[in-house]
Protein backbone atom coordinates (compact mmCIF):
# COMPACT_ATOMS: atom_id res chain seq x y z
CA UNK A 1 0.00 0.00 0.00
CA UNK A 2 2.68 2.56 0.99
CA UNK A 3 4.52 2.42 -2.37
CA UNK A 4 1.26 3.01 -4.24
CA UNK A 5 0.23 5.73 -1.82
CA UNK A 6 3.54 7.57 -2.19
CA UNK A 7 3.19 7.56 -5.97
CA UNK A 8 -0.40 8.76 -5.82
CA UNK A 9 0.48 11.57 -3.40
CA UNK A 10 3.55 12.58 -5.40
CA UNK A 11 1.61 12.81 -8.65
CA UNK A 12 -1.29 14.52 -6.95
CA UNK A 13 0.85 17.28 -5.45
CA UNK A 14 3.53 17.60 -8.14
CA UNK A 15 1.52 16.80 -11.26
CA UNK A 16 -1.18 18.62 -13.22
CA UNK A 17 -4.22 19.96 -11.33
CA UNK A 18 -6.20 16.86 -10.36
CA UNK A 19 -9.89 16.15 -10.83
CA UNK A 20 -12.02 13.46 -9.24
CA UNK A 21 -11.65 11.33 -12.34
CA UNK A 22 -7.89 11.88 -12.72
CA UNK A 23 -7.50 10.85 -9.09
CA UNK A 24 -9.30 7.59 -9.83
CA UNK A 25 -7.01 7.04 -12.81
CA UNK A 26 -3.97 7.73 -10.63
CA UNK A 27 -5.13 5.20 -8.05
CA UNK A 28 -5.67 2.66 -10.80
CA UNK A 29 -2.31 3.39 -12.43
CA UNK A 30 -0.50 2.78 -9.16
CA UNK A 31 -2.63 -0.24 -8.29
CA UNK A 32 -4.12 1.14 -5.12
CA UNK A 33 -6.78 -1.22 -3.78
CA UNK A 34 -10.42 -0.50 -4.60
CA UNK A 35 -11.38 0.28 -0.97
CA UNK A 36 -8.46 2.66 -0.57
CA UNK A 37 -9.16 4.35 -3.90
CA UNK A 38 -12.78 4.90 -2.95
CA UNK A 39 -11.78 6.31 0.43
CA UNK A 40 -9.35 8.73 -1.23
CA UNK A 41 -11.89 9.82 -3.82
CA UNK A 42 -14.40 10.56 -1.10
CA UNK A 43 -11.86 12.94 0.48
CA UNK A 44 -10.86 14.60 -2.78
CA UNK A 45 -11.22 18.22 -1.59
CA UNK A 46 -9.20 17.61 1.55
CA UNK A 47 -6.61 15.67 -0.37
CA UNK A 48 -6.05 18.75 -2.54
CA UNK A 49 -5.08 20.71 0.58
CA UNK A 50 -1.79 18.78 0.49
CA UNK A 51 -1.21 19.99 -3.06
CA UNK A 52 -1.60 23.60 -1.89
CA UNK A 53 0.72 23.03 1.07
CA UNK A 54 3.52 21.28 -0.84
CA UNK A 55 3.48 23.69 -3.77
CA UNK A 56 3.18 26.68 -1.42
CA UNK A 57 6.26 25.61 0.57
CA UNK A 58 8.35 25.05 -2.54
CA UNK A 59 7.22 28.22 -4.27
CA UNK A 60 7.93 30.28 -1.16
CA UNK A 61 11.48 28.87 -1.01
CA UNK A 62 12.04 29.79 -4.67
CA UNK A 63 10.61 33.29 -4.33
CA UNK A 64 12.88 33.83 -1.37
CA UNK A 65 15.94 32.61 -3.30
CA UNK A 66 15.36 34.50 -6.58
CA UNK A 67 12.62 37.09 -6.21
CA UNK A 68 13.63 39.30 -9.16
CA UNK A 69 13.88 36.36 -11.55
CA UNK A 70 10.47 35.06 -10.49
CA UNK A 71 8.99 38.55 -10.94
CA UNK A 72 10.57 39.02 -14.37
CA UNK A 73 9.42 35.60 -15.58
CA UNK A 74 5.86 36.18 -14.38
CA UNK A 75 3.55 33.45 -15.76
CA UNK A 76 6.56 31.76 -17.41
CA UNK A 77 7.86 31.01 -13.95
CA UNK A 78 4.63 29.18 -13.15
CA UNK A 79 5.00 27.18 -16.35
CA UNK A 80 8.56 26.09 -15.54
CA UNK A 81 7.78 25.55 -11.86
CA UNK A 82 5.02 23.16 -12.94
CA UNK A 83 7.37 21.39 -15.37
CA UNK A 84 10.09 21.06 -12.75
CA UNK A 85 7.68 19.52 -10.25
CA UNK A 86 6.14 17.21 -12.83
CA UNK A 87 9.27 16.04 -14.63
CA UNK A 88 11.82 15.99 -11.83
CA UNK A 89 10.61 17.21 -8.47
CA UNK A 90 12.78 18.33 -5.56
CA UNK A 91 15.31 15.78 -4.32
CA UNK A 92 16.85 17.63 -1.41
CA UNK A 93 16.09 17.53 2.31
CA UNK A 94 16.87 21.23 2.45
CA UNK A 95 14.49 23.85 1.10
CA UNK A 96 17.46 26.16 0.50
CA UNK A 97 18.71 23.72 -2.16
CA UNK A 98 15.50 23.65 -4.20
CA UNK A 99 16.45 26.76 -6.22
CA UNK A 100 19.74 25.27 -7.52
CA UNK A 101 17.83 22.07 -8.40
CA UNK A 102 15.24 24.07 -10.34
CA UNK A 103 17.96 26.02 -12.16
CA UNK A 104 19.83 22.88 -13.17
CA UNK A 105 16.57 21.58 -14.62
CA UNK A 106 15.65 24.84 -16.36
CA UNK A 107 19.04 25.77 -17.83
CA UNK A 108 18.77 23.81 -21.11
CA UNK A 109 15.07 24.54 -21.42
CA UNK A 110 15.45 28.29 -20.99
CA UNK A 111 18.36 28.32 -23.44
CA UNK A 112 16.05 27.12 -26.18
CA UNK A 113 12.96 29.12 -25.20
CA UNK A 114 12.82 32.47 -26.99
CA UNK A 115 10.29 33.74 -24.45
CA UNK A 116 12.92 33.64 -21.69
CA UNK A 117 15.30 36.63 -21.80
CA UNK A 118 18.86 35.46 -22.55
CA UNK A 119 20.19 36.90 -19.29
CA UNK A 120 17.48 35.38 -17.08
CA UNK A 121 19.31 32.17 -16.18
CA UNK A 122 22.33 34.19 -15.09
CA UNK A 123 20.19 36.54 -13.01
CA UNK A 124 18.51 33.56 -11.31
CA UNK A 125 21.89 31.95 -10.58
CA UNK A 126 23.19 35.27 -9.31
CA UNK A 127 20.24 35.68 -6.95
CA UNK A 128 20.26 32.11 -5.68
CA UNK A 129 24.01 32.28 -5.02
CA UNK A 130 23.31 34.58 -2.10
CA UNK A 131 21.64 31.80 -0.10
CA UNK A 132 24.05 29.17 -1.43
CA UNK A 133 27.19 31.08 -0.43
CA UNK A 134 25.71 32.18 2.90
CA UNK A 135 25.33 28.47 3.73
CA UNK A 136 28.58 27.02 2.35
CA UNK A 137 30.65 25.20 4.96
CA UNK A 138 33.17 27.18 6.97
CA UNK A 139 36.83 26.31 7.41
CA UNK A 140 37.66 24.51 10.62
CA UNK A 141 38.82 26.83 13.36
CA UNK A 142 42.38 27.18 14.51
CA UNK A 143 43.76 28.33 11.18
CA UNK A 144 47.05 30.19 11.53
CA UNK A 145 47.83 32.56 8.63
CA UNK A 146 51.31 32.31 7.12
CA UNK A 147 53.18 34.03 4.29
CA UNK A 148 52.39 32.88 0.75
CA UNK A 149 55.04 31.30 -1.43
CA UNK A 150 55.22 31.08 -5.24
CA UNK A 151 56.04 27.36 -4.99
CA UNK A 152 53.03 26.55 -2.82
CA UNK A 153 49.32 26.66 -3.45
CA UNK A 154 46.98 29.08 -1.70
CA UNK A 155 44.31 28.05 0.77
CA UNK A 156 41.10 29.86 -0.11
CA UNK A 157 37.98 30.11 1.98
CA UNK A 158 35.57 27.27 1.10
CA UNK A 159 32.67 29.75 1.32
CA UNK A 160 32.99 31.12 -2.20
CA UNK A 161 31.89 30.59 -5.79
CA UNK A 162 33.62 31.90 -8.92
CA UNK A 163 31.10 32.51 -11.68
CA UNK A 164 31.13 33.83 -15.23
CA UNK A 165 28.23 35.67 -16.77
CA UNK A 166 27.63 36.92 -20.29
CA UNK A 167 25.57 39.79 -18.91
CA UNK A 168 26.18 42.24 -16.08
CA UNK A 169 23.27 40.86 -14.04
CA UNK A 170 25.02 41.90 -10.82
CA UNK A 171 24.52 45.55 -11.81
CA UNK A 172 20.75 45.30 -12.10
CA UNK A 173 18.64 47.24 -9.59
CA UNK A 174 17.42 45.40 -6.51
CA UNK A 175 13.88 46.57 -7.22
CA UNK A 176 11.69 43.57 -8.11
CA UNK A 177 9.53 45.80 -10.30
CA UNK A 178 12.47 46.81 -12.51
CA UNK A 179 12.56 45.31 -16.00
CA UNK A 180 15.82 46.95 -17.01
CA UNK A 181 17.93 44.60 -19.14
CA UNK A 182 21.57 44.08 -18.17
CA UNK A 183 24.43 45.04 -20.45
CA UNK A 184 25.78 42.13 -22.47
CA UNK A 185 29.44 41.80 -21.45
CA UNK A 186 31.71 39.13 -20.02
CA UNK A 187 31.73 39.20 -16.23
CA UNK A 188 33.81 37.19 -13.78
CA UNK A 189 32.47 37.46 -10.28
CA UNK A 190 33.81 36.14 -7.03
CA UNK A 191 30.92 35.58 -4.62
CA UNK A 192 32.22 34.97 -1.12
CA UNK A 193 31.23 35.04 2.52
CA UNK A 194 33.13 37.48 4.69
CA UNK A 195 34.41 36.53 8.16
CA UNK A 196 31.39 38.51 9.45
CA UNK A 197 29.13 36.10 7.48
CA UNK A 198 28.04 38.68 4.90
CA UNK A 199 27.80 37.56 1.27
CA UNK A 200 29.92 39.86 -0.87
CA UNK A 201 30.67 40.21 -4.57
CA UNK A 202 33.93 41.13 -6.26
CA UNK A 203 34.21 41.56 -10.01
CA UNK A 204 37.52 40.22 -11.28
CA UNK A 205 39.57 41.10 -14.34
CA UNK A 206 40.26 38.19 -16.72
CA UNK A 207 43.78 37.91 -15.28
CA UNK A 208 42.52 37.88 -11.68
CA UNK A 209 39.86 35.31 -12.58
CA UNK A 210 42.52 33.14 -14.22
CA UNK A 211 44.65 33.23 -11.07
CA UNK A 212 41.79 32.50 -8.68
CA UNK A 213 40.44 29.74 -10.92
CA UNK A 214 43.80 28.00 -10.91
CA UNK A 215 44.35 28.45 -7.20
CA UNK A 216 40.94 26.87 -6.63
CA UNK A 217 41.97 23.87 -8.68
CA UNK A 218 45.15 23.43 -6.63
CA UNK A 219 47.87 25.06 -8.75
CA UNK A 220 50.91 26.59 -7.08
CA UNK A 221 50.83 30.39 -6.87
CA UNK A 222 53.68 30.96 -9.32
CA UNK A 223 52.25 28.53 -11.87
CA UNK A 224 48.78 30.03 -11.46
CA UNK A 225 50.00 33.56 -12.18
CA UNK A 226 52.09 32.40 -15.12
CA UNK A 227 49.26 30.39 -16.72
CA UNK A 228 46.70 33.12 -16.11
CA UNK A 229 48.98 35.72 -17.72
CA UNK A 230 49.50 33.46 -20.73
CA UNK A 231 45.77 32.91 -21.02
CA UNK A 232 45.20 36.67 -20.91
CA UNK A 233 47.90 36.98 -23.60
CA UNK A 234 49.98 39.11 -21.30
CA UNK A 235 53.70 38.86 -20.64
CA UNK A 236 54.75 38.21 -17.05
CA UNK A 237 55.73 41.84 -16.51
CA UNK A 238 56.42 43.68 -13.28
CA UNK A 239 52.96 45.19 -13.60
CA UNK A 240 51.32 41.76 -13.83
CA UNK A 241 53.25 40.50 -10.81
CA UNK A 242 52.39 43.65 -8.86
CA UNK A 243 48.74 43.21 -9.87
CA UNK A 244 48.76 39.59 -8.67
CA UNK A 245 50.31 40.62 -5.35
CA UNK A 246 47.68 43.33 -4.95
CA UNK A 247 44.91 40.87 -5.73
CA UNK A 248 46.13 38.39 -3.13
CA UNK A 249 46.54 41.12 -0.52
CA UNK A 250 43.00 42.31 -1.24
CA UNK A 251 41.62 38.78 -1.01
CA UNK A 252 43.47 38.22 2.27
CA UNK A 253 41.96 41.44 3.60
CA UNK A 254 38.53 40.12 2.63
CA UNK A 255 39.16 36.80 4.40
CA UNK A 256 39.21 34.85 1.10
CA UNK A 257 42.92 33.99 1.14
CA UNK A 258 43.73 31.97 4.21
CA UNK A 259 47.41 31.15 3.70
CA UNK A 260 49.70 28.71 1.89
CA UNK A 261 48.91 25.09 1.21
CA UNK A 262 50.54 22.16 -0.52
CA UNK A 263 50.17 22.02 -4.30
CA UNK A 264 47.51 19.52 -5.37
Amino acid sequence: MQPALENVFAELVLGPPPTQSSLSELCQKHQLGADDSTALSESFARLCVYRELVRGNLREALELAMPRSVARLGPLFDEYFDRFLLERGPRTHYLRDVAPELLTFCRPLWASDARVPPYLYELAVHESLHIEVSALPSLPRGHVPAALSLELGVELSPALRLVRYGHAVHELPADEASREAPRARAVSLLVYRSPEHDVRYLELTPLARGIVERLLSGHGLGAAVQAAAAEAESALTEAVLAGAAKLLADLAERGVVRGPRAVA
Binding site: M1, Q2, P3, L5, E6, N7, F9, A10, V13, L14, L32, G33, D35, D36, S37, T38, A39, L40, S43, A45, R46, L47, V49, Y50, L53, V54, N57, L58, A61, G89, P90, R91, T92, H93, Y94, L95, R96, V98, S134, A135, L136, P137, S138, P158, A159, R193, H197
Partner: protein, 279 residues
Protein backbone atom coordinates in the same frame (compact mmCIF):
# COMPACT_ATOMS: atom_id res chain seq x y z
CA UNK B 1 16.80 17.06 31.37
CA UNK B 2 14.35 19.45 29.78
CA UNK B 3 11.54 20.99 31.78
CA UNK B 4 9.25 23.97 31.93
CA UNK B 5 8.13 25.94 28.90
CA UNK B 6 10.25 26.45 25.80
CA UNK B 7 10.02 28.17 22.45
CA UNK B 8 10.75 27.00 18.92
CA UNK B 9 13.87 28.88 17.82
CA UNK B 10 13.29 30.72 14.54
CA UNK B 11 15.64 32.84 12.46
CA UNK B 12 13.21 35.76 12.78
CA UNK B 13 14.39 36.34 16.35
CA UNK B 14 17.59 34.31 16.63
CA UNK B 15 19.83 37.38 16.79
CA UNK B 16 17.66 38.99 19.47
CA UNK B 17 17.89 35.86 21.60
CA UNK B 18 21.65 35.59 21.11
CA UNK B 19 22.45 39.25 21.69
CA UNK B 20 19.86 39.98 24.33
CA UNK B 21 19.66 39.34 28.07
CA UNK B 22 18.51 36.01 29.49
CA UNK B 23 14.85 35.37 28.70
CA UNK B 24 12.27 33.65 30.90
CA UNK B 25 12.28 30.67 28.50
CA UNK B 26 13.32 27.28 29.82
CA UNK B 27 14.63 25.80 26.58
CA UNK B 28 14.66 26.28 22.82
CA UNK B 29 13.75 23.73 20.22
CA UNK B 30 15.80 23.72 17.04
CA UNK B 31 14.93 22.50 13.53
CA UNK B 32 18.22 20.75 12.74
CA UNK B 33 17.71 20.98 8.97
CA UNK B 34 18.18 24.75 9.31
CA UNK B 35 21.69 24.28 10.67
CA UNK B 36 22.91 20.99 9.21
CA UNK B 37 25.38 20.73 6.33
CA UNK B 38 26.05 24.42 6.32
CA UNK B 39 28.33 27.08 7.73
CA UNK B 40 27.88 30.79 8.11
CA UNK B 41 25.83 33.04 10.28
CA UNK B 42 23.09 30.77 11.61
CA UNK B 43 25.22 27.88 12.91
CA UNK B 44 27.61 30.46 14.40
CA UNK B 45 24.74 32.14 16.23
CA UNK B 46 23.37 28.80 17.43
CA UNK B 47 26.75 27.93 18.86
CA UNK B 48 26.62 31.09 20.94
CA UNK B 49 23.42 29.86 22.56
CA UNK B 50 25.00 26.63 23.75
CA UNK B 51 25.28 26.66 27.51
CA UNK B 52 22.93 29.62 27.82
CA UNK B 53 19.76 27.61 27.19
CA UNK B 54 19.11 23.88 26.87
CA UNK B 55 18.45 22.99 23.22
CA UNK B 56 16.45 20.08 21.82
CA UNK B 57 16.27 19.02 18.16
CA UNK B 58 13.03 18.40 16.29
CA UNK B 59 13.39 17.30 12.67
CA UNK B 60 11.16 17.74 9.65
CA UNK B 61 12.45 15.55 6.85
CA UNK B 62 13.34 12.14 8.26
CA UNK B 63 10.31 10.70 6.43
CA UNK B 64 10.29 7.70 8.71
CA UNK B 65 7.18 6.23 7.13
CA UNK B 66 8.36 6.29 3.51
CA UNK B 67 9.19 3.09 1.69
CA UNK B 68 12.79 4.18 1.14
CA UNK B 69 15.19 3.89 4.06
CA UNK B 70 16.18 7.25 5.58
CA UNK B 71 19.08 8.79 3.70
CA UNK B 72 22.39 7.75 5.32
CA UNK B 73 24.09 11.11 4.68
CA UNK B 74 21.16 12.90 6.24
CA UNK B 75 21.33 10.66 9.32
CA UNK B 76 25.08 11.24 9.71
CA UNK B 77 24.62 15.00 9.51
CA UNK B 78 21.69 14.82 11.89
CA UNK B 79 23.67 12.83 14.41
CA UNK B 80 26.44 15.42 14.27
CA UNK B 81 23.94 18.24 14.74
CA UNK B 82 22.37 16.50 17.72
CA UNK B 83 25.82 16.18 19.27
CA UNK B 84 26.62 19.83 18.52
CA UNK B 85 23.44 21.05 20.20
CA UNK B 86 23.74 18.51 23.06
CA UNK B 87 20.10 17.62 22.54
CA UNK B 88 18.88 15.13 25.16
CA UNK B 89 16.67 13.40 22.56
CA UNK B 90 15.58 13.83 18.99
CA UNK B 91 12.08 13.82 17.58
CA UNK B 92 10.48 13.79 14.15
CA UNK B 93 7.00 13.15 12.80
CA UNK B 94 5.00 9.96 12.36
CA UNK B 95 4.46 10.53 8.66
CA UNK B 96 6.13 10.34 5.28
CA UNK B 97 7.49 13.35 3.44
CA UNK B 98 9.17 11.79 0.44
CA UNK B 99 8.20 9.57 -2.45
CA UNK B 100 11.12 7.61 -3.81
CA UNK B 101 13.84 10.15 -4.61
CA UNK B 102 11.43 13.09 -4.47
CA UNK B 103 11.31 15.14 -1.30
CA UNK B 104 7.85 16.62 -0.82
CA UNK B 105 8.58 18.99 2.08
CA UNK B 106 5.28 18.37 3.84
CA UNK B 107 4.14 16.00 6.59
CA UNK B 108 1.96 13.47 4.79
CA UNK B 109 -0.27 10.99 6.60
CA UNK B 110 0.47 7.30 6.76
CA UNK B 111 -2.22 4.72 6.38
CA UNK B 112 -3.17 3.52 9.85
CA UNK B 113 -2.46 -0.12 9.15
CA UNK B 114 -0.86 -3.07 10.93
CA UNK B 115 1.73 -3.30 8.18
CA UNK B 116 2.76 0.32 8.77
CA UNK B 117 2.92 -0.25 12.54
CA UNK B 118 5.37 -3.09 11.97
CA UNK B 119 7.39 -1.28 9.30
CA UNK B 120 7.65 2.12 11.00
CA UNK B 121 8.26 0.66 14.45
CA UNK B 122 11.17 -1.41 13.17
CA UNK B 123 12.72 1.74 11.74
CA UNK B 124 11.97 3.91 14.78
CA UNK B 125 13.56 1.28 17.02
CA UNK B 126 16.83 1.70 15.11
CA UNK B 127 16.80 5.50 15.34
CA UNK B 128 18.16 5.76 18.88
CA UNK B 129 21.24 3.79 17.84
CA UNK B 130 21.57 5.69 14.56
CA UNK B 131 21.31 9.08 16.24
CA UNK B 132 22.98 8.38 19.56
CA UNK B 133 20.09 9.75 21.66
CA UNK B 134 16.57 8.56 22.56
CA UNK B 135 14.10 9.02 19.74
CA UNK B 136 10.51 10.28 19.85
CA UNK B 137 7.70 10.52 17.31
CA UNK B 138 5.15 13.30 17.02
CA UNK B 139 1.48 12.71 16.23
CA UNK B 140 0.74 14.79 13.12
CA UNK B 141 -2.23 16.72 11.84
CA UNK B 142 -3.90 14.83 9.01
CA UNK B 143 -6.58 16.32 6.80
CA UNK B 144 -7.51 13.05 5.24
CA UNK B 145 -6.83 9.45 6.12
CA UNK B 146 -5.05 8.01 3.07
CA UNK B 147 -7.32 5.16 2.07
CA UNK B 148 -9.19 2.81 4.35
CA UNK B 149 -7.99 2.89 7.97
CA UNK B 150 -7.42 -0.56 9.43
CA UNK B 151 -6.82 0.92 12.87
CA UNK B 152 -8.03 3.96 14.78
CA UNK B 153 -5.36 6.66 15.12
CA UNK B 154 -4.89 5.88 18.80
CA UNK B 155 -4.18 2.20 18.14
CA UNK B 156 -1.85 3.08 15.29
CA UNK B 157 0.10 5.53 17.45
CA UNK B 158 0.27 3.16 20.43
CA UNK B 159 1.21 0.28 18.17
CA UNK B 160 4.21 2.13 16.72
CA UNK B 161 5.34 3.51 20.08
CA UNK B 162 5.06 0.21 21.93
CA UNK B 163 6.72 -1.84 19.23
CA UNK B 164 9.58 0.66 18.84
CA UNK B 165 9.85 1.83 22.44
CA UNK B 166 10.04 5.38 21.09
CA UNK B 167 8.92 8.38 23.10
CA UNK B 168 5.87 10.42 22.19
CA UNK B 169 6.10 14.07 21.32
CA UNK B 170 2.47 14.88 21.95
CA UNK B 171 1.23 17.82 19.92
CA UNK B 172 -2.01 18.81 21.61
CA UNK B 173 -2.81 21.34 18.88
CA UNK B 174 -2.65 18.47 16.38
CA UNK B 175 -4.98 16.42 18.56
CA UNK B 176 -7.37 19.36 18.70
CA UNK B 177 -7.19 20.06 14.95
CA UNK B 178 -7.73 16.38 14.14
CA UNK B 179 -10.63 16.20 16.58
CA UNK B 180 -12.39 19.06 14.79
CA UNK B 181 -11.63 17.79 11.30
CA UNK B 182 -12.47 14.16 12.00
CA UNK B 183 -15.12 14.60 14.67
CA UNK B 184 -13.85 12.98 17.85
CA UNK B 185 -13.47 14.00 21.47
CA UNK B 186 -9.91 15.32 22.00
CA UNK B 187 -10.09 14.78 25.76
CA UNK B 188 -11.06 11.15 25.32
CA UNK B 189 -8.13 10.78 22.90
CA UNK B 190 -5.67 12.28 25.40
CA UNK B 191 -7.15 10.31 28.31
CA UNK B 192 -6.66 7.07 26.39
CA UNK B 193 -3.03 7.83 25.50
CA UNK B 194 -0.13 6.18 27.27
CA UNK B 195 1.09 9.44 28.79
CA UNK B 196 4.11 7.72 30.34
CA UNK B 197 5.65 7.82 26.88
CA UNK B 198 5.33 11.61 26.51
CA UNK B 199 8.75 13.29 26.41
CA UNK B 200 7.57 16.72 25.27
CA UNK B 201 4.34 18.53 24.47
CA UNK B 202 3.84 20.94 21.57
CA UNK B 203 1.28 23.70 21.32
CA UNK B 204 0.71 26.05 18.38
CA UNK B 205 -1.91 28.14 16.65
CA UNK B 206 -4.21 27.03 13.86
CA UNK B 207 -6.60 28.60 11.37
CA UNK B 208 -9.91 27.68 9.78
CA UNK B 209 -10.52 27.61 6.03
CA UNK B 210 -13.85 28.83 4.63
CA UNK B 211 -14.75 25.16 4.10
CA UNK B 212 -14.52 24.67 7.87
CA UNK B 213 -11.35 22.60 7.65
CA UNK B 214 -8.93 23.55 10.41
CA UNK B 215 -5.30 23.90 9.34
CA UNK B 216 -2.28 23.47 11.59
CA UNK B 217 -0.63 26.71 10.47
CA UNK B 218 1.58 27.62 13.44
CA UNK B 219 0.64 31.11 12.39
CA UNK B 220 -1.50 32.41 15.26
CA UNK B 221 -1.51 32.47 19.06
CA UNK B 222 -2.49 29.23 20.77
CA UNK B 223 -6.29 29.05 20.86
CA UNK B 224 -8.18 28.70 24.14
CA UNK B 225 -9.45 25.15 23.47
CA UNK B 226 -5.83 24.07 22.92
CA UNK B 227 -4.75 25.73 26.17
CA UNK B 228 -7.56 23.85 27.91
CA UNK B 229 -6.42 20.62 26.30
CA UNK B 230 -2.85 21.33 27.40
CA UNK B 231 -4.04 21.76 30.98
CA UNK B 232 -6.09 18.57 30.73
CA UNK B 233 -2.98 16.73 29.50
CA UNK B 234 -0.57 18.08 32.11
CA UNK B 235 -3.02 17.31 34.91
CA UNK B 236 -2.71 13.66 33.85
CA UNK B 237 0.87 13.41 32.62
CA UNK B 238 2.56 15.41 35.34
CA UNK B 239 5.56 17.58 34.46
CA UNK B 240 6.58 17.41 30.82
CA UNK B 241 8.44 20.06 28.81
CA UNK B 242 5.98 22.20 26.88
CA UNK B 243 6.96 23.97 23.69
CA UNK B 244 5.37 26.87 21.83
CA UNK B 245 5.74 26.59 18.04
CA UNK B 246 5.36 29.63 15.82
CA UNK B 247 6.45 29.39 12.19
CA UNK B 248 4.25 31.81 10.28
CA UNK B 249 3.24 35.40 10.90
CA UNK B 250 5.95 35.39 13.55
CA UNK B 251 5.36 38.32 15.92
CA UNK B 252 7.92 40.25 17.95
CA UNK B 253 9.93 38.16 20.39
CA UNK B 254 8.40 40.11 23.27
CA UNK B 255 4.96 38.87 22.22
CA UNK B 256 6.17 35.28 22.08
CA UNK B 257 7.73 35.68 25.53
CA UNK B 258 4.33 36.88 26.78
CA UNK B 259 2.71 33.82 25.24
CA UNK B 260 5.29 31.58 26.90
CA UNK B 261 4.38 33.31 30.17
CA UNK B 262 0.69 32.46 29.60
CA UNK B 263 1.67 28.86 28.93
CA UNK B 264 3.72 28.81 32.11
CA UNK B 265 0.66 29.90 34.09
CA UNK B 266 -1.29 27.03 32.56
CA UNK B 267 1.66 24.72 33.23
CA UNK B 268 2.03 25.72 36.89
CA UNK B 269 -1.70 25.55 37.60
CA UNK B 270 -1.98 22.16 35.90
CA UNK B 271 0.91 20.72 37.86
CA UNK B 272 -0.61 21.97 41.11
CA UNK B 273 -3.76 20.02 40.18
CA UNK B 274 -1.67 17.00 39.24
CA UNK B 275 0.15 17.06 42.58
CA UNK B 276 -3.03 17.68 44.54
CA UNK B 277 -4.67 14.72 42.85
CA UNK B 278 -1.70 12.51 43.72
CA UNK B 279 -1.50 13.69 47.33
Amino acid sequence: MLGGVGLGLRWDFLEEVVEGPALPIDFFEVSPENYMRRGGYYPAQLERLLGRYPLVTHGLTLSIGAVAEPDADYLNELRAEIQRTRSPFHSDHLCFSSAGARSLHELLPLQQSRENVRRVAERARRMSDELGVPFALENITYYVHPGRAELPELDFLHGVLEASDAGLLLDVNNVYVNSVNHGFDPRAFIAALDLERVVEIHVAGHSRKPSGLVLDTHGAPVADPVLELLAFTLQRSGPRPVLLERDNEVPALSELVREVHTLREVYDASLRSYRAAGA
